[in-house]
Amino acid sequence: MNQGPLNKAGERRPDWAALAIAAVLVAISAVIFFDAARLREVSGYSPVGPSTVPMAIAVVLLLLAVWTVIAAFRGDFPAREKQEIQPVAWVVGGLAAQMLLLNTAGFSIATGVLFAATAAGFGKRKLWISLPVGIVLCLVVWLIFAGLLQLSLPAGPLERLFQ
């Protein structure tokens, strides 16, 4: 399954990316075991307590990790298409920028940045057009949703002009 020339994880078995997934699953179950051990100390002895189900989930995740390792060595994972990193970076960057700007710059500017970055990820790189368009659009959305539907969307310098 795993011999496509576009496979970024390397042409040869084992499938390193799948092994990485198995490692993540092991890490998750380790976190659960750690937390469950703490819960046991707090809640004392009882056959079925708050830690029972997380423990069971952790055990199954460990088994699934083993299964994933086997699948990785057998090349059972489907061939992956080539992924372009740059557009993904634009969109992720836009989301991160929105997250950081939201409480200082307000909804319209923060989300306008996200809008322009996403458009850039899909090929519209003319930020001097898409950024103002995005900010104005988000301001309109803000006026509708914060004004008419009374959602609490954070206000910044732009929004205060309309309050």
Binding site: A17, P47, P50, V53, Q83, E84, V91, A96
Partner: protein, 505 residues
């Protein structure tokens, strides 16, 4: 009171002018969002959930009903005109529908889809109204262990019975279950896996997870394919009306599709999309025009579309009567109920009959509105399809984050949105299904509660789970649903199953 009287009472509630207005907004928004390429009903419902935040419970659920049916309808329009089905339930519609559109018969294809959806929705919603009270009566004798067994069955069918890999389906499910244990334990009040972060005490919001995985994950995945030419939208040429031959060839597939789709949706076990495949296969076998199949046979649109809508109404049977979501869409609807502190299930029929029957009646009304609205407005929907990708996805992310910010304007929540979005992207790249994560997150706490109640009653004796005949029967079915596909795949007959993937995004 009989079902009929309850339904009449519900119609009176749903026909109040304000509620009609909510239903109208719901179907219009639902269709408008559902018609956008790459957005299926699950994402439509998740994106539009915030719009309903400020309404009362009844108004919000009525709008929801409209959004649900509108989103279903919008999806079929996309697959007929664009040949990029956003959800597996529409794949079959695209097979014949898009061929019809290319041959200049897009109008009749849309019409038979719309009228077929209406017929199926009507019959299935009435079916829902008449079956629900019986299942409610049955469900009242269910104890914790029967509920737990039922949920195990739903987990297995949603995650691993269909789709192309048991391993990846189960992994997705258990990641969802892991996420569901974060927060305060409902039975003891202990915090679990929150590591002192106050934002995690309430657990992870289903809508945040669903919007992140479906909207952001999908956007990243499409972006990562690089720049491609725009998808070709087939223009609707000629009449949108069906001629006499179209009617003659459509009405039987509508009814057959309904009969096939409704029971499959109504079973408390995911995989609601199978109905469309079965219906397509049935029509292909029964048709008098076998040469047209593959080149735009109208039966191949009429039957699967009816089956699709009938099973969508069918999924409301386990959702409303048992509180059991069997698709990602139903899981998000359950989250919609929970935001008003309502837990769907047999008790809701007893404590809040106006609400439940008002909702069922609104489904009938929404269905009717869709029929009246959609054919005249087809030009508008086609224009929505031609929005260039950069603006389309920029707009999708704008509304995706708007919903999260509106529910909880915190940097942490947006961080989770981003994190789960990247997770959803990674899962798509490696071929993991998304729906099991969402279903695991919402059903996990309910299943855990039932399990721990059952074990508390038996004082920790696990054998109690198998000593009730109903519970044991359900667990045996669940085990078969897990093992049989594994055997089939090992023997190289997995293609059938992967075609039936209940993967709606």
């Amino acid at each position: 009171m009989s079902t009929f009287e309850f339904l009449l009472q519900g119609l009176v509630i749903a026909a109040q002018p304000m509620n009609l207005f909510y239903a109208l907004i719901g179907v219009t928004l639902g269709t408008a969002v559902g018609v956008l390429p790459g957005i299926g009903p699950a994402l439509t419902v998740a994106l539009l959930l915030p719009v309903t935040y400020r309404l009362d419970a009844a108004g919000s659920l009525i709008m929801f009903a409209g959004i649900y049916y509108g989103g279903m309808y919008g999806g079929s329009t996309t697959s007929i005109l664009l040949n990029t089905p956003g959800e597996s339930a529409s794949i079959v519609t695209a097979l014949e529908g898009n061929k019809m559109a290319r041959a200049g018969r897009g109008g009749p294809a849309l019409a038979t889809a719309a009228i077929g959806s209406f017929v199926a929705g009507l019959i299935a919603t009435i079916g829902l109204a008449f079956i629900a009270p019986y299942i409610v009566k049955l469900a009242l004798v269910f104890g914790p262990r029967e509920y737990f067994a039922l949920m195990v069955l739903a987990f297995v069918t949603v995650s691993s019975a269909f789709g192309d890999s048991t391993l990846r389906g189960l992994t997705a499910l258990f990641v969802g279950l892991f996420l569901s244990t974060i927060g305060i334990d409902q039975l003891t009040g202990q915090t679990r896996l929150a590591f002192g972060v106050p934002d995690l005490l309430d657990g992870i919001e289903v809508t945040t997870l669903a919007v992140a995985m479906f909207a952001i994950g999908e956007t990243l995945f499409i972006a990562a394919q690089g720049l491609q030419g725009p998808d070709k939208v087939e223009a609707v040429k000629g009449s949108v009306w069906m001629n006499r031959a179209d009617w003659a060839r459509s009405w039987k597939p509508w009814l057959r599709g309904t009969v096939i789709g409704f029971p499959i949706g109504a079973m408390p076990a995911g995989g609601a999309e199978i109905g469309t495949f079965l219906s397509y296969a049935a029509e292909k076998r029964l048709t008098k025009h076998p040469e047209e199949f593959g080149n735009g046979a109208i039966e191949g649109v009429a039957g699967p579309e009816a089956a699709n809508n009938a099973s969508a109404a069918g999924t409301l049977v386990p959702l409303l009567t048992l509180g059991l979501p069997t698709t990602a869409t139903a899981a998000i609807m359950l989250a919609g109920f929970q935001q008003y502190g309502l837990q769907p299930g047999p008790l809701l029929f007893a404590t809040n009959p106006q609400l439940v029957w008002g909702l069922i009646a609104s489904l009938l009304i929404a269905n009717f509105m869709l029929l009246v609205l959609n054919l005249p407005m087809i030009g508008l929907w086609v224009r929505l399809l031609t929005i260039p990708k950069p603006w389309l996805y920029a707009g999708i992310l704008l509304f995706a984050t708007l919903g999260t910010i509106g529910a909880n304007p915190s940097v942490f929540e947006l961080g989770m949105l981003l994190g789960f979005g990247v997770l959803g992207y990674g899962m798509r790249v490696f071929g993991y299904p998304i729906a099991p994560v969402v279903v695991g997150l919402i059903l996990g706490p309910l299943a855990e509660q039932q399990l721990r109640r059952a074990l508390a009653i038996s004082q920790g004796d696990f054998t109690v789970l198998f000593t009730s005949p109903i519970a044991a029967g359900l667990l045996i079915v669940a085990a078969l649903a897990l093992i049989v596909p594994l055997v089939l795949r090992a023997r190289g007959r997995g293609e059938v199953l992967s075609q039936m993937a209940a993967n709606e995004d």
